[in-house]
């Protein structure tokens, strides 16, 4: 017998008139259970595997909601598909993207973040988010 998990807090309630629905809960569950850089299509398939009735359009819509709600962040790689990654409080990682095998290595660097803050300050710019992607070949592909 399958136990329906009851979400202890409603992520959507916080915002204006957002409602909590089975689909959104499903999508959020699957998204949170996923590790890094899911494309909408991937997520859609995973969600569909879990619960039949969820349309693609809803997955697209819901991911945008996640971004607005600060739960997810959009990643643009060069394959024409938007991907999403978790936004875990206070954490931010950047990416080494291997153009050989498409693998992604994450890293964090506090100094770079600080330098960004300085640069922004120097231009009177208020940072909302940032993205640092380094392209090249990983150790296995560089032969």
């Amino acid at each position: 017998m399958i136990q329906e998990k009851k979400r202890t807090f409603n992520v959507f309630a916080a915002s204006k008139g957002l409602r909590s629905t089975r689909q959104r809960d499903n999508i959020l569950d699957v998204f949170l259970a996923t590790h890094q850089h899911v494309s909408v299509e991937e997520l859609y398939l995973k969600v569909k595997a879990v619960s039949q009735g969820v349309g693609q359009a809803t997955v697209y819509r819901t991911l945008k909601l996640f971004v607005e709600a600060g739960l997810a962040r959009e990643i643009l790689l060069h394959d024409g598909q938007t991907r999403y990654e978790h936004v875990l409080a206070g954490e931010h990682h950047d990416h080494l993207v291997c153009t050989g095998c498409n693998s992604i290595i994450e890293f964090e660097n506090e100094t770079i973040e600080q330098l960004q803050d300085e640069i922004a300050a120097r231009h009177g710019f208020m940072i909302r988010s940032h993205k640092l992607e380094i392209y090249g070949l990983c150790s296995r592909c560089r032969t």
Copy 2:
């Protein structure tokens, strides 16, 4: 009377079977005369203004060639249009992107570049290129 500039070196000759054509020369001229972040559509219009017979498909194709040839770099913003910027030898700049007015401020930071090299080295990663984009509000939009 208009003087046909003769390109002193053939950028395309270097690679495999690439040929030098009027269209490619036109596109390259216009691209080089353009400053930062041209979308394909923009470039197409500029090229068409200069010389009638150049199709969109060719502009798309040629820009990809420029990237392969190391003359241009793709920039992905969040408006669904791929943009291209020059790759000038040794120079690299990153971007402060204002989400308010879509303006772009460029900056360079040697320290960040060095830190990237260190990080890459630590992961046995060979850097080909990188992209750092900081999103937020510029001084005029942050009111």
